[in-house]
Symmetry: C2
Subunit: 589 residues, 2 copies
Amino acid sequence: MATVPLGLYLWKRLKQIGIDHIFGVPGDFNLNLLDYIYDVPDLKWVGNTNELNAAYAADGYARVAGAGCLVTTHGVGELSAINGIAGAMTEQVKVIHVVGQTTRMMQQKHLMIHHSIGFNPDHQVFNKASKGFRVAAAELQSEEGAAEEIDRALREMFLKSGPVYIFVPIDLVDKPIPAAALEKPLNLEPEPDTKAVEEAVRAALDALYTSKQPAVFVDCLVQRHQAVVEVRKLVDTLSTPTYTSNMGKGIIDETHPHYVGLYNGVCSGPGVQEAFEQADRVLMIGNLPSDTNSGGFTRRIASDKALSIDTHSVTVGGKTYDNAPIKAVLRKMLDLVATDKLPKTLMPKLPERPLEDDADSKMITQSWVWHRFAKFMQPGDVVLGETGTAAFGLPDTTFPAEIIWITQTYYGSIGHATPAAFGVEMALNSLASRGTARGRTILCTGDGSLMLTVQEVGNMIKHGVAPIIFIINNAGYTIERIIHGARQSYNDIVPFDYSHMLQFFNMPEAEAKKNFHRAHTKAELEEILSKDSVKQPQALQIVEVMMDMMDVPWRLATQIATRGPAAVKEMQEAGFKVRQLNKQEAFWG
Amino acid sequence: MATVPLGLYLWKRLKQIGIDHIFGVPGDFNLNLLDYIYDVPDLKWVGNTNELNAAYAADGYARVAGAGCLVTTHGVGELSAINGIAGAMTEQVKVIHVVGQTTRMMQQKHLMIHHSIGFNPDHQVFNKASKGFRVAAAELQSEEGAAEEIDRALREMFLKSGPVYIFVPIDLVDKPIPAAALEKPLNLEPEPDTKAVEEAVRAALDALYTSKQPAVFVDCLVQRHQAVVEVRKLVDTLSTPTYTSNMGKGIIDETHPHYVGLYNGVCSGPGVQEAFEQADRVLMIGNLPSDTNSGGFTRRIASDKALSIDTHSVTVGGKTYDNAPIKAVLRKMLDLVATDKLPKTLMPKLPERPLEDDADSKMITQSWVWHRFAKFMQPGDVVLGETGTAAFGLPDTTFPAEIIWITQTYYGSIGHATPAAFGVEMALNSLASRGTARGRTILCTGDGSLMLTVQEVGNMIKHGVAPIIFIINNAGYTIERIIHGARQSYNDIVPFDYSHMLQFFNMPEAEAKKNFHRAHTKAELEEILSKDSVKQPQALQIVEVMMDMMDVPWRLATQIATRGPAAVKEMQEAGFKVRQLNKQEAFWG
């Protein structure tokens, strides 16, 4: 029977499921595991500047390539990464966290090995800490059955879409295990209840056929469960007004003739909420109704209107069909839909966007900058909006077709987007090496968020990748200022002088000077955005965008207004522009 | 009945127990809690560049000031800090982690508030993750009994010496609670079994009286349990050869006439192990026998020789006396000891330190630099040795009296020392404001470790503190190279150009140029170390020390040699200098 060392089995399997790059930080309990990476053709080790950054990078990579992987060491590394893993759990991103553990002997004897806790340490105390943040784990303690455990964890990751752990005591790494399983690809497909799927689809279609003015709402979980192609076809087929959310943006081409806009309750653009509410049936696909992705829970759809296709079930008219995975449901719907039975719908006419009070400003304003970015985007781009004003501003940027939009709007951990952008660049390189034409990576972050994970910019330079990074420099945590304590010192940050960043991270002086840009005014930003070296970057570009610390996107102010009149009063007293919501509109009121 | 808002109660209590600075990162579930910090005279908010750095800073602060505190926000912040808290658990450091949680209503209704997980989120999932990493927690859910819960957690922190959590749902912050408890200081003293203490002390003293050549071994837990003053007096009184460990260094003045050296089994300096083994009884005080603090478990003391004063118990001749806290035991021992009954001991004569092969090198070598630093140290300094070559090199630096030595040698999380040094500076400022003369903060770190948490250097500049930071630049993870994969790419790091660091972190150019120093040779380092501006810094000093990537302190090579002949062979083949240990010496062999 052919065998393969356990460590090599693991990496070969990951390569088979589409992973070309392994993120992480070395440590003495993973070094010999890392050695086997070099034995797999076209699989590359990519170290990170710390473990949290590695988790974020793997998350960004996964959002583009399908799945991502990081490796850490027992305890110290494992725990440093845990917040990134919890983010993947919340956002349903497929991240494999491989942890090199102490040897089984050390574990059994409770030895006081460095990184452990106490006088009689339980070496599994760290493993226990992540139980709430993973959809499965392979907790290897023997070479017997190890391959099956690894395969099971990877399969669960795809079925549930979320992070998994693979724990490898370091003395197991070199153990031979059967190689046979590697000869056929891992089965990652769910086994749906085909009867339930068909019944669900027929019920949903009947509800659409009998409606007068149906609508479609597409949210981010479609993307997490590999159903983007199917949902795009369905939207083409149904030819009915289509909406999405802050997080679902980009799945449907925003220039599509049936696309209306982002519907997030009271945090929707002019006319969008009114248009949506005309619908008498809504096909809700992959909905993720967190506060931040639903206008503070103001995206309300009466249950008799909603036909919900969730990730693993369908609900129509109060009846739920289980074991009906979203991709299988959408495929069946494409099979069965009779377009001639669908009602003819009118596309709503949205009002013109009203002119903002600050439209004449020569300075760069929130009301201007996000619309301006629309012209900068190109099909194929991956756009990242960091939690902060960027995540609430970019929803105003109309994207061309074929954009991948990345935002951690439910988990909302500031610092995520910069290492994620590094992961995205590596994923785009992976895809390009297989012949897919690659777009650019465009990161919009803020000075507050960038501070947390800034060293990963150095990794971009080390690896010669060329994202465009827009840094909204508004002197601190503006997203917190509008919530509370606008002028309190806790909302100030440690200021950086970004003009020295590239050189600090080891870019040669001449290049660094060329690749750093700072804009105080709209005119300056226009000039920067018109440069070919920025538009088609050959090296990392930094564009520092100076903005007022008390200027916020309207969506952010409106989102906070859903908390009620006291929140509105506080915002107004602090000097923020925001309208009072009426009682009907506001969830918290 | 006088009342006080719960938030204010918390901060007033922390101020009473000696905390002047609160570390952390703001978030929307802690902002109104932070407001109350400004209402407590001489209590200051100190934001950090991320939550892990905040935890490390609070840890460094606690190691100097007694206890430290950080505040984070629900989920994202809380988990980002968890590795720093686990470090405090391992190293028995008193850190209070205050977490601002979602409101009780949000928790009870399982609302999908940002930072949560899933469709029906359990908001306490993050709290559960830290259960293994704390000695107590106040999980507040009502204003009733909240004061008692806070006080209980703080008392437990002192009794057990370790991290505690205080969870505050944000809607509780403004609730009035009784103020009465604040009128008397919190009782932080343990309640020993006085009979057990006396019996234990008498047994230990009898064993010393009947010995011929006793010795004292002092380790780091003495410091964690507030018994430094007592142990120093005891060492003066016993007048017998005294030893310490890597982690216990500095507690006993290394120029004290009865101080012999660091005893870490085979990883002891010339003659120290032989001298120690002459003892027929050893008073072991506050021992922490982790692999890294015991020469790979080669610090072996026969149980009939050892008289162990542990943190909460004493063991003499196989009999254990419980509920005997270390400080009470040492005090009682000072009361009862009859010095005339103690045997007269001879101080061992250690051999001269042999000349190293590379003694003639003009370049900066590991065998030279740590000894050189001895001349640079001054009484009152706080010296931090980061995990890496620094932690294994600084044990060779003979300290003058009154040094506080900080190293995370058991937990060993690289990245700890830089934010910890920031915390130390704030703690020294606290103590200075109460009239204690303050020394300098001296941080020895490496390029690998600094990378993980480098942004906290910016915080030092923002706050105008003036530590001296030595950066061992040896092109990567040298501590990993010697363990495994000396030339593998995973042991390379992202290179930084430190000459641009201070300006990136916003120090004005003229100052930045003055405060950055780089040494390639011994002569260059000598010149830098002789400058008054470095010796008595008025601003942050960076000294980059260029060293060979394959040069390691002898203690590190010897430590790894304890793993056995295969480890030695691998080191030698990679080109490291190391001697083979004989079978008797090596634990793993």
